[in-house]
Symmetry: none
Subunit: 201 residues, 4 copies
DNA sequence: ATTTAACCGAGACGGTACGTCACGTCTTCTA
DNA sequence: TAGAAGACGTGACGTACCGTCTCGGTTAAAT
């Protein structure tokens, strides 16, 4: 095993202070007015320390939100599986609606979205590290339902996931209506009705 | 009759040049790197002429896209109504998929989205001037289908519209899959199945 | 008398309002921050009306100060001539010291000086319309003294005037000391001593 | 020994380039048209580097002229003292006349004067760093003449200095006549005559 | 235990763009 | 046709950040 001659000794304290500062600031001023100098200043850190370890302010923000919001540890968080698909999805959708409606989740998530709309590389990283694991968990739950005969076996799972989850995400992003449990229930009923009657052609 | 206080009027040529320049530039450099000075310079216009008439670069971009993409004239563009709901929606969804997949629509629309994620006032204006008229046209088509007995009368039309159209918009925004006619058709089938089996409770 | 077919009908009210506004403003913000737009705005006048009649802000200021400070009417104001040269000059110098020390004269005169240091054409106009008439009045008084045998006939009058009056002007401009009657008297005594003992070579 | 807080230091090269550029530009366009951006651009320097170290364009110009014209090193340059007061002052006054008449001195000195007329703080700094040391050197020479019996002991030295030097400065500033050696000699003769006959009352 | 090289905070640097201000010209309308 | 109003192209202002680059100083691995 080749040994590094003088390895990078990254400061864990600085990293934590930077992510903390970035998270706070994005909640205060939004993504557009977030700046590297402000992060460095609030974190009590030199600018170079940020530039050394992250390629863009979007990347800092992304990591800050991952650490705070999703725990940093990468366990995929499976969907509940009680045997009752509709009940399980209702639980998830209602929880999602409540989360998206709360400012603690809304503000940083919106900032993250702004970052990704402008930065395709960041969007790709999000897809790999967040979106795809989440989607795989959803696929697993739907496959379980298929095995239980609650959904047709011919179903395209990605279309099914889109049909169930996308409308709420879209309403959140565009603020085109309130994110209530009633909305979640109505969406779910419509989507499941459509999926159950899906023909195999 | 009260007489006007002899005001200097707004230059139509400058306004057109600014919107043209903004539209071109956002296609070349994206929303993040779009700047007022670059717009003014390319339009052959003073910066103050932009600041005098628009509150932000997002507002300029918004108007530029409206003028170019949607024609500026505010006719609501009704959905086709041949009597066959599914065929009509298929036409619309397929066309939407093709449009969103084309760079000419994708680039500026993504820029506009970036602007709106950061700027709530802009999002509100979009909702009033674009989203709501479009949605009303969709509601009109669905009401027609209800009258024809093709959809349950008890249907919540806004949920129906979300179920039909949101998944494609979401896939476009997140680039989570290809925007094909097959995808359009599959989404539509799922959504309509769900809507047709909607119970009146 | 031939009548003009459609002559320029300059508005006396506008001219007066402009000069008044310029004089006020220069006292409030100084020459450097004085601007055409501010003058026009305070005078309730269009900018073009200023540009039509004056070539520069310095010219407006010059005329404003002439009108206010020196009466606009061009009578040369002779020096007193009681027969006692020293007493007459003492009267004039003491009065000058008091005037220069008062803010009402100091502020606009300093602004006018600033204008002239930067603008040679303005300085030339000042020389012709203010400095030279004033100097001629001084020459007349000194010539009278020569005729009375109080000063040598061989005296170069311009050097004499410089010797008597320049030190006070210089101290005022550079703020290198207080402008008191004592200073005026001491200067005068020194200068007159020098001039009286002037040899004819 | 207390250790410095590890500060990034000022760039001597940038400082020199800025002063050089300012000096050149003021000779080309004059004080009124001198601008920070033009200085920065010619010096190959960011504007912020100027704003960081100087409070105004006048301050830059002041330092530029000090460095170029007076050497930056603060030795007071004593007046010549050969024992013959009149000859010594003639040397100085003639040299001053020649310098003020030369464009290399006239242009920047006039610009500096323009700056000081508008900016009292700058004038104060000039008084402390240039005017007062110069005046002290003159006082020293006059005191020496008093000790040699060439001037009355009761003389107020500041009035004497004004009487000898101010007329030439005033003629230079107002361009009211040519700055020749003859003028210098005539002024000096007049002033010294006046000073020598000064009575002790 | 000492060396030593990367990391760290700080912040100056050359730049770019910001949003504001005033310039001097012009166009429109009124008196 | 002079004048009030004010939009226009122009360009400098002073500020905010960008991303790069020294500066000492402080560690922790490799001598």
């Amino acid at each position: 095993m080749p040994k590094q001659p003088a390895a990078a000794r990254r400061s864990a304290a600085s990293r934590a202070a930077i992510l903390e500062a970035a998270f706070e600031l994005v909640g205060e001023v939004g993504y557009g007015r977030l700046g590297i100098e402000a992060i460095a200043s609030r974190a009590g850190v030199g600018k170079q320390t940020i530039y050394r370890w992250w390629p863009s302010k979007g990347a800092v923000l992304f990591e800050a939100i991952l650490v705070r919001g999703f725990g940093d540890g990468e366990e995929p968080v499976p969907l509940p599986d009680t045997g009752d698909l509709e009940a399980d999805l209702r639980t998830v959708l209602r929880a999602t609606a409540l989360e998206l409606a709360s400012p603690e989740v809304d503000r940083p998530l919106r900032a993250l979205t702004a970052a990704m709309v402008e930065d395709e590389a960041l969007a790709e990283e999000y897809r790999i590290r967040v979106e795809e694991p989440t989607r795989e968990a959803k696929r697993a739950r739907l496959r379980s339902a298929q095995r239980a005969g609650q959904l047709p076996a011919s179903l395209d799972l990605d279309i099914a996931i889109d049909a169930i989850f996308a409308p709420m995400a879209h309403r959140w992003l565009t603020r085109s209506g309130p994110l209530t449990e009633e909305y979640a229930d109505a969406l779910l009923e419509t989507a499941l009705n459509g999926l159950r009657h899906h023909g195999p052609n």
